[in-house]
Amino acid sequence: MPIQYYIYLCLALFSIGIIGVLTRRNAIVVFMCIELMLNAVNLLLVAFSKMHHGAALAIDSTTKAGIDGQLFVFFIMVVAAAEVSVGLAIIVMMYRNTHSVDINFLNRLKN
């Protein structure tokens, strides 16, 4: 399958994530959309990694070129997990104080 298909799929997922972040009002849903953006990137990195590896294999059959893309994916997963733990704690703290997870709550500081 050509690499373009993967790029289009990932860009579509990424854009869905961005649109969700910008339009949804529920903090949890916004958070899920951010996760969607990160996972679109993971998919793209794996696809590129396979592409580069395949191209390098054609020249040298013992090469390990191209595996660093997949390594990066692991780091993104770990960091995303760390972010989730902090982010959910913040959302829970906000829920305790206001009994709501609505983003519209974020307008008090404006004035």
């Binding site: 990137v41 982010g87 500081l109």
Partner: protein, 464 residues
């Protein structure tokens, strides 16, 4: 490597110190000692005496520039802990954890000053920002702190997502995460460098994300709310050391890469600089709270620091070091006084010149430095930024715009000075002001003036 290892260790030590002792003052002194050890360990590496060498496979590279920045950032943090330590103690119950998080932020700072690939840059930025989300939220019962932390968290992880997309696209185009050994770029028929569409798109996404992190317009909108809502002590840290580290990462990332983006890059950057200066300075004029004014002023100062990115030559790097020191010291000083006051309004400063002349003097020096008045550190910092731009052949109109906005900034900084010296009233000082704090503030003021008379103090470090 010393800085990264020792700051991470110091963070762990701080967490355990919270178990061993519950005396807040003891914890503060442990943190100060850990910072001194950290500075010493980093200096040993700067002068090549002793270092822990780890084979990082070229993911980190330790150059003079980054190591000197580490020293400056750690020193600024030490001054911050000594001046505002009392307020960190009073910020909440988990004092040891706050200091531990500050050390983890410093670990991120030392990674950002030495990364040599996109993977380490991503990790550095995350290690830098995740503790900051927690510090912003440390005032748990306060709705403003909640709101600031949620906003900071959502904006921060959103911009991280954008940065990761940029990294993935650049990886797709070049097949490597390395910064300076990119795959050979094809030369087009006209002789210019031809880059693939993916790489340019990736660079632009990374630029947007970094602009988010350093709060450059038009991606600055989270800054005033977050800086205003976070507890004052932690705003002071976020607006100084962290922001300067963001700029070091920015310049390391784009240095030597701008050829790919072609001449459009300079036009894009000039637009961002003018927009940042305009929004930061003009909005700061209309603020009623000093804290909010300082957060807009931090946007304005970011506009000046972006000149280092515009020129990205050696002079710009020296200037950026000088700017980080001058800006960090002055802002830490003002915040140290500000968080002693009851509210953050301009009126709280009324009559401070009569009741606390030493504090008023030190605050005045800090404000003058931020405004860039000669004989203070801020003057040479701004001078270096603009001079490096002229040296690189930047347009004259950009220079004029920058100087005009520097003049606008004098207005809102002088409002505080006017309140201190020319308005009647009693300043609403909430916490007791010790003579040690006064002496510290005066020493800080003397340091800022010394930087303004002999900026070579910092710059020699870079050359030495």
């Amino acid at each position: 490597m010393n800085a990264i290892i020792f700051s991470a260790l110091a963070g762990v030590v701080m967490m355990y110190s919270g178990i061993i002792t519950s005396k807040k003052t003891v914890i503060k002194y442990i943190a100060a000692i850990a910072l001194v050890v950290l500075i010493a360990a980093n200096l040993l590496q700067v002068y090549g005496i002793w270092q822990i060498s780890v084979d990082t496979r070229d993911m980190l590279s330790f150059e003079k520039f980054g190591l000197v920045f580490n020293t400056l950032a750690f020193t600024a943090t030490l001054i911050y802990v000594l001046l505002s330590g009392k307020e960190i103690e009073n910020a909440g119950v988990n004092v040891a954890e706050y200091f531990a998080l500050i050390f983890f932020v410093l670990c991120g700072v030392s990674i950002l000053s030495s990364f040599n690939g996109l993977l380490m840059m991503f990790l550095g930025i995350e290690i830098l920002t995740i503790p900051l989300y927690i510090l912003t939220a440390s005032d748990k019962r306060n709705l403003r702190s909640n709101e600031a932390s949620l906003k900071y968290f959502l904006m921060g992880s959103f911009s991280t997502g954008i940065m990761l997309m940029g990294i993935a696209l650049v990886y797709g185009a070049t097949g490597s995460f390395a910064l300076h050994t990119n795959a050979p770029v094809a030369l087009s028929a006209t002789g210019g460098i031809k880059a693939s569409f993916l790489e340019v798109a990736g660079m632009i996404l990374m630029f947007v994300s970094m602009a988010f992190k350093v709060s450059a317009a038009p991606f600055h909108f989270w800054t005033p709310d977050v800086y205003d809502g976070a507890p004052g002590v932690f705003t002071s840290f976020m607006a100084t050391v962290v922001k300067a580290a963001g700029f070091i990462a920015f310049i390391r990332l784009f240095e030597g890469h701008t050829a790919i983006l072609g001449p459009t890059w300079k036009i894009l950057l000039a637009f961002v600089i003018v927009a940042t200066l305009l929004i930061g300075n003009v909005t700061a004029v209309f603020q009623q709270s000093v804290k909010r004014m300082l957060s807009y002023s931090s946007i304005a100062q970011a506009g000046f620091m972006l000149f280092a990115l515009y020129s990205s030559n050696d002079m710009a790097k020296e200037g950026l070091l000088l700017y980080s020191v001058a800006y960090s010291l002055a802002t830490i000083g003002i915040f140290a006084v500000l968080i002693k006051l009851k509210d953050y309004a301009f009126d709280d400063f009324n009559g401070l010149g009569k009741t606390h002349p030493a504090l008023a003097f030190a605050t005045t020096v800090c404000l003058l430095s931020l405004a860039g008045i000669p004989l203070t550190g801020g003057f040479f910092a701004k001078y270096y930024m603009l001079a490096s731009m002229v040296k690189e052949g930047g347009p004259l109109w950009l220079l004029i715009v920058a100087v005009l906005f520097a003049a606008v900034s004098v207005y809102y900084y002088f409002r505080v000075i006017q309140a201190m010296y020319f308005k009647e009233g009693t300043p609403s000082v909430q916490t007791e002001i010790t003579s040690g704090f006064k002496a510290g503030m005066v020493l800080l003021a003397i340091l800022i003036i010394l930087l303004g008379i002999a900026p070579s103090l910092v710059l020699n470090l870079f050359y030495f």
